[in-house]
Symmetry: C2
């Protein structure tokens, strides 16, 4: 499954796999795809360096990339404490009450609150980049629009192409104007931040808007048939995130979350602002229901909401508060019904793709199949 | 573009076109597709007979079908007047006020209020069927779930297969159990009544749920590339509705509506209950905004909402009240940028399909292209 883009990046297959887990990213790359490590959870640059060292040792010289979260809009001279001070007491009380209602214990005094969505803050993302550029990464992706111009320039100086997610054709055009090299067209059905346009409509719109820039189709893709569909729509590759969450290499916080993912149907996700303040598709839980409840205080804008709920999410995960336990995931979760290795998932993708090509050539009345 | 299903129905291409306009349906059939005439607006069976006579004279013996709106759940002994009496005065006032705010004149005394969504009522649909079965229709489609068992039986006695729309795999399974022959998997991005699952995810889920029954992919399809995607996802054909609305054969109520459709982008639709009481994707207008406004009275359940707004829609159309003027249409509306004949649209679809097959076979490294 080769396109100009996959060839130029040195991957055997035009399958890009986004994941927060180094073991998953490395396995995607070893399987012949292009693994992209999400860096948002690395608040300590040393941890990122350690995991990139490990990736380097486990990818046989094959290509991989890094994804940072870095909005182009800059907030000058604002500290995390400044942002914390902007959170209304009503919202803090709502967090406390919701956790108490579900009997979620407090963290011990001084216990680190673990992963905070501080990666949204530009300083953190820049320290991640300082680390990433020390490694032979072959792609810099930005999950929240185009990064600032100096970051794009810096990537290009390192010979690293930059990819950015877009939820609309206009959004994609702005990326192209900002010097982005690859647009990831992220459809409504995708996990994480999405717009309202579904992949079937969005992919060709973005291809038309930014051509000849290469486009990756993202959202709703978890089988080889869906890969064939994405490529038929004009994409030069596909970008899969959700499907790796239930692989054996994935290091989810709790078994309970894995069980919830395996049991969920395609209708069990919701586009909610509960996680970050911007609409992001995730498992529907008692937590998202509370935030989406018109009787509640509602969510705060990014980055306030992420800071507001950071400690709460740590507690929910640490104590396995099952009704509240969730994760960003796309509608494809309905297809994730068994735990398998990345290699098995990957083999299924390439086999399903070949089946879909057989089918479509037969329908077209082409010979040779 | 042949599948088992298109062959069994006698169509050259597995492209099913749904439309309320006989001239469009006939042109789709003549172009080599399968035209399906929506019967919901025919409150007078004589009008339907007249238009089916015309279709018969303009389809050269090629196959076509009819679509009725007939929910399987029966309401015994309830008249239209009974239903009218259930509409709260607050909602009637909201309709009057909204129209007055936009300066929409009243109809003259005794002037017929034109198309009322009385087709939702079972008696009307049954009188439509009495007419339809007098013609050699090759498909009976039901836009709102499976029709009652006796209607399915009656179609089968006439040798006519029955198709029903489904927005989820569970919905599709119920259709299969009700003896339906073909499932139309209608994705979130489609015009008209839709669920929340996008076509990329829904199509293969429905194929898996009801196989070996044939599935048509609907929602987000308006180009040959999107047809190839739908077929790659396992469908035996595609079901297109929106794309015909801006053909030269379409008899829309007003030029203003055609202009609005041509100007709209993929982000200019909304899934709203304003039209029928169930979520249906349509152009976003001042009318849908009013109904979706949390400050307003909100919509009523089907069939109340349809009866409530019937006269208002006639007035909006008759007087061309542009800010309020809308129609059911899918996200593909962003691609509908010029008025063309059905034949031109159809040629574009088949050419685009061949291009997509070329592309996908090249990516797969197959020879023969």
């Amino acid at each position: 499954m080769e396109t100009e883009l996959s060839k130029s990046l040195g991957a055997a297959h035009a399958i890009f796999g986004f994941t927060p887990f180094p073991a998953v990213a490395a396995a995607i790359t070893r399987a012949g795809g292009f693994g992209v490590l999400g860096a948002v959870r690395y608040t300590d640059p040393g941890d990122l360096a350690r995991d990139l060292d490990w990736m380097q040792d486990h990818t046989d010289g094959l290509p991989y990339g890094v994804d940072v979260v870095m909005p182009a809009r800059k907030v000058e001279g604002v500290t995390e404490a400044d942002v914390e001070a902007m959170i209304p007491e009503e919202h803090r009380r709502f967090v406390r009450d919701t956790l108490a209602r579900h009997g979620v214990p407090e963290l011990a005094d001084g216990e680190p609150s673990g992963w905070r969505i501080t990666g949204w803050m530009e300083q953190v993302a820049r320290s991640q980049l300082d680390v990433a550029f020390d490694y032979p990464v072959k792609l810099l992706a930005s999950a929240l629009g185009a990064p600032p111009a100096d970051v794009v320039d810096r990537a290009h100086e390192h010979g690293v192409p930059v990819a950015a997610l877009a939820g609309s054709a206009r959004h994609a055009q702005r990326h192209a104007e900002a010097g982005i090299d690859i647009v990831v067209a992220q459809g409504y059905e995708a996990g994480g931040h999405t717009g309202e346009i579904a992949s079937m409509v969005l992919t060709p719109e973005v291809v038309e808007a930014v051509g000849p820039l290469p486009v990756l189709a993202a959202g709703g893709i978890g089988s080889g048939e869906q890969i064939a569909a994405g490529l038929a729509l004009g994409a030069q590759g596909v970008w899969l995130g959700s499907v790796w969450l239930t692989t054996t290499e994935a290091a989810l916080h709790s078994r309970a979350l894995t069980r919830k993912l395996l049991a969920a149907g395609s209708g069990d996700t919701v586009r909610s602002r509960a996680l970050t303040g911007k609409p992001a598709r995730q498992l529907r839980t008692a937590w998202t229901d509370a935030w989406d409840d018109p009787e509640g205080p509602g969510t705060l804008p990014m980055p306030l909401q992420g800071l507001l709920v950071a400690e709460a999410l740590t507690r929910i995960q640490k104590y396995g508060a099952e009704p509240l336990l969730g994760t960003p995931v796309g509608q494809i979760v309905g297809r994730m019904t068994s735990e398998r290795s990345v290699q098995e998932v990957f083999d299924d993708l390439t086999r399903g793709f070949e089946r879909a090509v057989d089918r479509i050539t037969r329908i077209a009345g082409r010979n040779g199949t």
